[in-house]
Assembly symmetry: C2
Homo-oligomer: 458 residues x 2
C-alpha cells in the first residue's frame, strides 16, 4: 500500500501530520482504513511510506484494528522504488506470493468488483505477466493516464500506455474503449525485479542496498538513507510498464477516483442542483459548480462559480477549482508554519483530540476518550497537565493513586508523574487539557505501559 | 452618535454582539472610539443605539475611557426617528445647544478638517439652517448620495439631494462639483423639530411619546416600546433634508469613507501592486483586486479576482466584492446561529477574552487581563469556573480568601462563590477559563463591586 503522500494537494484538509490517506474522504473511515478493508482477503498488508510519518501510519493502522509491516522511506522516491522495495521484501519473507501494489489514498466504491478483478488477474500474474487494472472511463478525463489493451475480453496484453492526453485525444480514447490507469498493479516479485534489472539496473542496485542496509524490528523496516538517496525518482509506469512486453490489463468497473485534487473531490461528492458539493458546515447562495467544505467551522459563499473553499479552524483556502493544482506551490510558499505541518485534529487508538488554543508555554486540547478505552501509563518530562472533565465519567491514576472522575472535576499531573486515564462509562469522556511547560511537543511522552503496544514518541 | 448598526454587512467580521462600530477598522481603536475622540471638542456625547446592545455600547464607551448618555431604541427605526429623539433629549437637557448628528461607524482620516467644517457650519445652524456636510468626491461613486449646493464658497444653501446615481450621472456630478452626502448633520434641535412637525407630524408625535414614556436612569434612556413601534422607519434625508428649504451644505475634504461594504474596506486599505488588500494573516498567489482578511486564522488564496475572503476561527465568508451587499441576505438565511449572534472575541474594560471551545454544558475561554486591571467582585449562579494561569502573575480572591497566582496555578471557583481577579504584574495575565454548568450565558453575573461601575448583566 503506497502511503507516501505528503499532504499538500488537499491542504488545508490534509497536512504533513495528517496526509490525505488518513482523511475520511470516501466513508466515515480514513482512506487507508478503507484500503485495508478492501484488501483484507489478499493477506497481510505492507505499507510503504515516509520514515518521518512512521508513527503516524502505524497509529492509523492500529486505530483501524490492524497490524502491518511498514517499509519506511527516508525520502519520497516515486513508485518504481516503492514497487521494487515491496517486491524485495515480499520475495524474502513470503516466497511464492504475488504483490498487489495499491495506492492507499484512492476511493473505490465497489470493493467486490475490485476483488473480483484482482482474482481475475492473478493467474496471468502467476504466469509472469505484470498486471495493471484499467478502470472503465466515465468521461474523457485529461488528468489520468490511459491504457490501450489488445482487442478481446478479460485479461489481455497491453498495447500501449498514454500519459494525460489533451481533450480531443481523451474523447477518442473514450470512444475506442481505452481504460484509465488506476495505478494498481499485480505481479510476482521476481518478474518485476527481473524487468527492473533489465530496464533500470541502477535503481534496483540502490534499492537493494537501502533495503539490505536498513534496520528491521519486524514491524518497521527503516531503509538506509545513504543508499536510498542514490535511488532515481521515477514512476513504475515509466520505468517498467511503458517498456515491458509483459504488461497485461484487467478492465474493471468499480467506482474509482484518485481524489487527487479538490476537483476530483467535488466530482466524487453528492452535488446540489447547481453542481455545488457542500461538505461539513457549508452554506451557499446563488453559487455554481463549487466545492465548499467547512471542517469544524462555518463556510459561507455567495455568488461563487467554480471555486474551492475549504475552511478549518486555523486555515482557509480559496482557489478556482481548475487551479487547485497550484495549492502545492502555495503550501511551499507558506513555508514551515504550524498550519502546514500540524492539524488541529488528531485520532488516537483511545479516541481523538483537537488543539483549541496555544501560545507561548501553553497549549489547550479537548480530549475525547471512547468508552472502555484507556490512554497509556505515561509521563512527561517538560510539562504539567491540567485536566478538567466536561463530559462523561472516567478513572485516573497519578503516581499509583487512583480516583474516579466526573463532570467538573480537576486533575493536575505534574511533570515526571506517571499517569493513566480511562473512560469507565458508556459515553464519550470529554476533557479539557491545559498543558503548561517550556516544551509541548507530542514526542515528550515516556510510555510505561500501553494497551495498544506503543513505544515512546509513538 | 448613530450606533444602530446590526452588524450584518461586514459579517463574519461583525456580529450582532460585535457590530461594525466596535471593530478597529480604521485605527487600532474601534470606529466608535475614533468617533468619540473626533467629536471630543463638541461636548458630551449621546449615543443612539439598539436597546438590546445597551450594555455592549456602554461597555465599549467605558473601555474608551468615556461616559455617555445612551438613547436606547427598542427596534431600529432609521435616522429620522434617531434625529428626532436626539433633538428632544438635547433640547430638554441642554437648552441652547446644537445637535451634531454623526454615524459612529465611518472612517475620517483628517479629524482636524472635520472639526473645522463643523465650526464653519455652526453659525448657519445657529441662524436656523439644517447643515449637512458634503465630502469632496474622489471618484464617480454610485453607492453614495450626492448633494448639489448653490454656487459659491463655504456654507451655502442646498439646491438638491440625489440618491445613489447611475455611473453616467455620477461622472457628471463629479465634473459639476457636487459632493457626497456623509450623513453628518448639524442643527438647532428646535429647528429640526419644527420641520418634522411640519413634514412628518405623525413621526414626531410617536417619537415624543416614546421618549416621554421611556425610563431614564440618567445614563440610559430606554424608549417606550409600544409608542416606538408606531414610529415610521424613514431616513432623515428623505423625511426632512430633501424637502426643507433650510438645508445648507459645508463642503469638506477629510478622507471620509462609510466603510459600508467589503468593497469600501478594500478601498480604504493599503493595496499590493495587484490591488489586493491583505489584512491580518492573509496570503495570496497570483490574485487581483481582492480583499483577504484572516482574523486569528490563516487565509490563503490562489488565482482569485475581485473576491472578498474573510476568515475568523468560527466562520468564513467568500463572495465577489461587487456582490458583497448580499452578505446581509446570507446572514438572514443562516438564521439564529452562534456564528451570527456571537463573536469569539470580546473586549472588556479589564482586557479581553476569546471563546476557544464550547460544547454541551461547558465553554473554554482565554482571558487576558491588562496590567493593573481587575475584574469585578462577582458570582455566578449556574456555573463553576476553573482558571489555569498560562502567562503573567495575578491575585485572586474567592469568598474573601486572597492568594497569589503564577503560571501553572489552578483556581476553582464554585457556583455561588464571590470572586475577583486582578493582574498585579507588569505584563498581560493570561488564563484559560473552563466554565462548567447547565447555563453559561454572559448574563449569569451578579456584580458585588466593580471598579468600572458596572451593574448586573452589564
Amino acid at each position: 500500500m503506497l502511503c507516501g503522500g505528503a499532504g499538500t494537494r488537499l491542504w488545508p484538509l490534509s497536512r504533513r501530520a495528517r496526509p490525505k490517506q488518513l482523511l475520511p474522504l470516501a466513508t466515515e473511515r480514513s482512506l487507508l482504513d478503507d484500503t485495508l478493508r478492501r484488501c483484507e482477503p489478499f493477506g497481510d498488508p505492507v505499507l510503504i511510506g515516509a520514515d518521518a510519518q512512521r508513527f503516524l501510519l502505524q497509529e492509523a493502522v492500529r486505530r483501524a484494528g490492524r497490524t502491518v509491516r511498514l517499509l519506511a522511506e527516508p525520502t519520497g522516491r516515486n513508485t518504481a522504488a516503492a514497487a521494487a522495495v515491496a517486491a524485495l521484501d515480499v520475495q524474502a519473507r513470503l516466497p511464492g506470493s504475488l504483490v498487489l501494489l495499491v495506492p492507499a489514498d484512492h476511493r473505490i466504491d465497489d470493493a467486490d468488483a475490485f476483488r473480483r478483478a484482482v482474482l481475475e488477474g492473478a493467474p496471468a500474474a502467476r504466469e509472469g505477466r505484470i498486471v495493471v487494472f484499467g478502470v472503465r472511463p466515465t468521461s474523457p478525463h485529461t488528468g489520468y493516464g490511459w491504457i490501450e489493451g489488445e482487442p478481446g475480453a478479460g485479461v489481455r496484453p497491453v498495447r500501449r500506455f498514454v500519459e494525460k492526453p489533451d481533450s480531443d485525444a481523451a474523447r477518442a480514447y473514450l470512444a475506442a474503449g481505452l481504460t484509465w490507469n488506476a495505478g494498481i498493479f499485480l505481479f510476482a516479485p521476481e518478474v518485476l525485479l527481473a524487468e527492473l534489472e533489465r530496464l533500470e539496473p541502477g535503481l534496483l542496485v540502490a534499492v537493494r542496498e537501502a533495503w539490505a542496509a536498513g534496520t528491521d524490528d519486524g514491524r518497521t523496516v527503516r531503509l538506509d538513507a545513504a543508499a536510498w538517496s542514490q535511488v532515481p525518482s521515477i514512476a513504475v509506469d515509466v520505468a517498467v510498464m511503458e517498456r515491458t512486453p509483459l504488461a497485461a490489463v484487467v478492465p474493471v468497473e468499480m467506482g474509482w477516483t484518485d481524489l487527487g485534487s479538490f476537483g476530483a473531490l467535488r466530482e466524487a461528492s453528492p452535488l446540489d442542483p447547481a453542481g455545488n458539493a457542500l461538505r461539513g458546515d457549508a452554506v451557499q447562495l446563488d453559487s455554481q459548480g463549487c466545492y465548499l467544505h467547512g471542517e469544524d467551522i462555518l463556510v459561507a459563499g455567495v455568488g461563487l462559480e467554480g471555486l474551492v473553499v475549504v475552511g478549518t479552524p486555523d486555515a482557509v483556502l480559496v482557489a478556482p477549482l481548475d487551479r487547485a493544482g497550484e495549492v502545492k506551490e502555495l503550501v511551499e510558499a507558506l513555508g514551515p508554519r504550524d498550519e502546514v505541518e500540524e492539524h488541529p485534529r488528531a485520532e488516537r487508538p483511545w479516541g481523538r483530540y483537537r488543539v483549541v488554543d496555544r501560545g507561548e508555554g501553553f497549549q489547550v486540547k479537548r480530549l475525547v476518550v471512547t468508552p472502555g478505552e484507556c490512554l497509556s501509563l505515561q509521563r512527561h518530562a517538560h510539562r504539567d497537565e491540567h485536566w478538567i472533565v466536561v463530559g462523561g465519567v472516567g478513572k485516573v491514576e497519578v503516581d499509583g493513586e487512583v480516583r474516579s472522575l466526573a463532570v467538573g472535576d480537576h486533575v493536575l499531573v505534574r511533570a515526571g508523574q506517571a499517569h493513566r486515564l480511562e473512560n469507565v462509562g458508556g459515553v464519550d469522556l470529554h476533557l479539557v487539557e491545559v498543558q503548561v511547560g517550556p516544551y509541548l511537543g507530542e514526542d515528550d511522552i515516556e510510555r510505561l505501559e500501553d494497551v495498544y503496544g506503543r513505544g515512546n514518541g509513538d
